[in-house]
Symmetry: C2
Subunit: 573 residues, 2 copies
């Protein structure tokens, strides 16, 4: 080692010791004939004191240059209790500038001097010098170690599944890799190890996990990344409760060992229907209440035709209530949310000394007296149940944001998801989770092309989602393990038997040689870290992320490939 100690380990016990420290010139202050340099490494900061014998060196020194300083540990006159090494300083007898830094492209350590995220990503090796970033990398690694130890203790085996895999649409776009050996053919980077982990169950691995890298060619503006990390789990001979128990153990170990927070087990559970009905979301944020209320009874014979008509058509009137005060412009902002969900507007009723609002004049006295029981504001929507609760769910989040209620910790399971959802875009059924999710026991025979879409939409699944603070952190299910049922599933999704075997043949085929019942879960690891650390973006949990525009700014990628490579792949234009 070129140093005797790190910049974080010396204290008064080392008084008088000859030491060599190496690190970066964090700050340089010159007072008359003396100079003070804070030397920094990953482990801490230590103060160096130099007299004017070293003036030639320190007067030309630039911040962030790399130094080697040798000298003697001395007690400080004024101790700095804020840092671990605050009791001591080094009286330097020799200082070597190992690597000189030129002027920095942005202020690394002073957040009050603004810099764009683009500049920081372009020079990520400087941005990572910030203590928060180095702590984040350590936190991430500790989270991975805790996760691996947890699964290892429980006899799980981490198995590395392939990166060069078969193109298989799983809901998002594949990244594909042209094969040089087999021209015109492609590999695909895995969207998840889903099929591999199921095959490992068929192989008898029994308990599999992997901290796996997954790839999706999606729009990054919604705080996603092309490549993300997933804690991937699969178990044989289990039912839902086994996966739930295992997961609750992991999450509570992570929270307690990393943050010192004890989470209560078992976690709360809400059915998908209750979550949607009460909170307007399949990943409800329960750190605050503001539930959706059903006002259909109240409006059924209210004389307000606009509401009555929706109820007569089988719809609902639902609303949110809060005591918070809202200005006109704030209400207009909330109305925009309703409009984005296809509603003509957002109805509201203010209950103060008197009842006001856009249709207050048309309200009957009895209706008014109902609303005047509580002082505050009601936001109302009428229409079909799913769009109404979804829109109100988003308005609910917006209210909470404005009221500063989105803090604290709330962990819950959402269970009993429907197996299918209807997509207006391609006018077809989609799997809510993925096509490998099993229907609830007893509904297997309903999985058939002969069953109406309405009835198919009623089939419950054996899927479960883990939600923390309104963010979907993990999702999983008990899987289909019957070849015929799996084929029927594909048929209902509009995938013929031929295409199913072409795309998922390895899994379907494996089901013919003895497949154990199995199920599992997958967590978005970056997202979990983001929620645990309260960070603004998943980019802040990743050492070298892609920018919002989908570029690697530091590397200058993607970029042109050289012509030899393109030629070998027959990709030249």
């Amino acid at each position: 080692m070129l140093r005797t100690h790190t910049c974080g380990e010396l204290n008064k016990k080392h008084k008088g010791k000859k030491v060599v420290l190496t690190g970066w010139a964090h700050s340089i202050r010159v007072f008359g004939k003396k100079a003070f340099i804070d030397i920094r490494d990953r482990y801490g900061i230590t103060q160096l004191v130099l007299d004017d014998k070293l003036k030639d060196i320190y007067s030309n020194l630039t911040r962030e240059s790399v130094l080697a300083a040798s000298g003697k540990v001395a007690l400080r006159k004024e101790q700095n209790p804020k840092i671990d090494t605050g009791e001591i300083e080094i009286v330097v007898d020799s200082l070597v500038v190992i690597s000189k830094a030129k002027p920095l492209p942005f202020e690394i350590f002073n957040p009050s001097v603004e810099s764009t995220e683009e500049t920081r990503l372009k020079h990520r090796y400087l941005d990572l010098r910030r203590g928060e970033m180095l702590r984040m990398l350590e936190f991430r690694f500790r989270a991975e170690m805790i996760t691996r130890n947890y699964f290892s203790m429980k006899e799980f085996v981490e198995v590395e599944t392939p990166f060069l895999s078969k193109p298989t649409p799983e809901g998002a776009r594949d990244f594909i890799v042209p094969s040089r050996t087999f021209k015109g053919n492609y590999w695909a980077l895995p969207q998840s190890p889903q099929q591999y982990k199921q095959l490992l169950m068929v192989a008898g691995v029994d308990r599999y996990f992997q901290i796996a890298k997954c790839f999706r060619d999606e729009d990054l503006r919604k705080d996603r990344q092309y490549e993300f990390t997933q804690i991937d789990v699969e178990m044989s001979f289990v039912d839902e409760q086994d996966v739930v128990n295992l997961t609750e153990g992991l999450i509570s170990v992570l929270y307690s060992q990393l943050l010192g927070i004890t989470v209560k087990k078992p976690f709360a559970q809400l059915t998908w229907h209750a979550a949607m009905d009460k909170y307007g979301s399949d990943k409800p944020d329960l750190r605050f209440k503001i539930p959706l209320g059903d006002l259909s009874e109240l409006f059924k014979d209210s004389g307000l035709r606009i509401f009555e008509k929706e109820i007569e058509k089988g719809g609902v009137v639902k609303g949110l209530f809060t005591k918070e005060k809202f200005s006109r412009s704030e209400i207009q902002e909330l109305e925009l949310i309703a409009k984005r969900h296809g509603f003509p507007g957002l109805a509201w009723v203010k209950s103060e000394d008197e009842i006001s609002g856009p249709f207050a004049s048309k309200m009957s006295d009895s209706l008014k007296s109902e609303f005047s029981k509580k002082k505050g504001i009601y936001f109302l929507l009428a229409g079909k149940w799913l769009p109404v609760v979804t829109a109100l769910g988003n308005i609910r989040l917006s209210l909470a944001e404005k009221m500063g209620l989105r803090k604290g910790l709330s962990i819950l399971w959402v269970v009993d998801f429907p197996l299918f959802e209807w997509s207006e875009t391609d006018r077809n059924l989609h799997a809510v989770h993925h096509p490998f999710t099993s229907p609830k026991q007893g509904f297997e025979s309903q999985l058939s092309e002969d069953v109406s879409v309405a009835d198919l939409l009623e089939i419950p699944s054996r899927a479960y989602d883990l939600v923390i603070n309104g963010v979907e952190i993990g999702g999983g299910s008990i899987r289909i393990t019957d070849k015929d049922l799996q084929e029927n599933m594909f048929k209902v999704l509009g995938i013929s038997k031929e295409v199913a075997w072409e795309k998922f043949g390895m899994l379907l085929g494996s089901f013919e040689y003895g497949v154990p019942p199995h199920g599992g879960i997958a967590f978005g690891f970056d997202r979990l870290l983001q929620v645990m650390l309260g960070l603004k973006s998943i980019r802040d949990t990743i050492a070298f992320p892609k920018s919002k525009s989908g570029r690697a700014l530091m590397e200058g990628a993607p970029s042109e490939a050289d012509l030899t490579t393109l030629g070998e792949l027959e990709l030249q234009k």
Copy 2:
């Protein structure tokens, strides 16, 4: 859980207990009115005993079907000491076939019934059911856990570096990934995290490791894989000895914890020159001796012109000696090796009762008497030093193979590699390790286009290789950390400053903002496991490997991509 116990945990202490076991029908034997089924899972095998009440089930049962059996634990009359559960059997009262297996495509457990590797790879989920394979997956995971714990204890941080990176030739062909967002541009899968780990040093991470996946588009026939796993390490403020010590600690912990073998530290070290000169290899197998001897003195004035001429031209005469007997056809096989290395043939001298061999008749009496001092056979080559020792090195391995000497354990470092080697193919200098390897101190100024090729080839580097049993397991170096020196390095390799900045700009740029001295090492993890477990191929260390022909046989990949995807990437023909 659908079971009360695994198939590996019951013993006589459980006598009388009601249990439910789940697993695969490993074997089915029917004797009169009784049937014996071995039920198997990852944890073991348990014997089930069924009477003829269950005849309808067991008489139709196929091997490898998945079962759930409930019954009572009973002591066996004849115990089987070979298996953990050999004391007991289960008297079954109910048996359910959860998943019926159709006839198997190959004999999974009986190695005497031959099956091709292709068949087994196509049904890898069946091949993995073999105990050896499941043990291998567990071994691999334990090796990873030991590695991670080792580095974690020493304050290293595992950092995940990107998979979608910049196309950068590093000696092998890149896999490239077309970008949809930036048409005509490409990502590349990393050949190694080399630049990223150096940037992490610039960032101040100080001690980095990663069990990293790397990608090279190479020919797989030489027992390689497109994607392989690397233990990747980098440290700041270190010299060679620090990396050597760290590595020796890791290797000895792996050997002792996984195999119960104590390896002696420090490991032996050979300079590159000594390794080549004495063993004809930069990764010598030292489990056996058979060193290369220098016979130049002996042949200098021997009158044998063919040898004398080579010595006069500055060449050498080197030879191998062994007491083993060789037939004519065996010698011819060894001669083929010499011919593959460009020699016209292989000279040999047999020393038995008298001296024989192709040129024995022309040997002087004094030369003959030298050879007759030891009884055995000498193999000789004359010519330039490097080709001579290289060819003899391969002959040496072939001798050892024939003599059964390639067993045991030998670990050593090869150090003081030259910085450059000459490539006849493109008539240019190549970096022996990679262009980021530092020359030895004092040779920095020699890195210049003005220096002759002969002199450049003499520059020693700060590189070191770890060799186990004649296999290069790891290699590393202290890196160049000076921008100008790095630019000169590229220039000598024929890469102009412009191209260097275009390809390696992020690293060169980072050196301008304070770079610590650093170095590291990378191990081929699959290869290490192969050597530790004595396996024939690295394919046997990987859950889902590619076949020798470069295909994923189970997945049926690579394959055609769908037209929508190709269209979005503008790749359709």
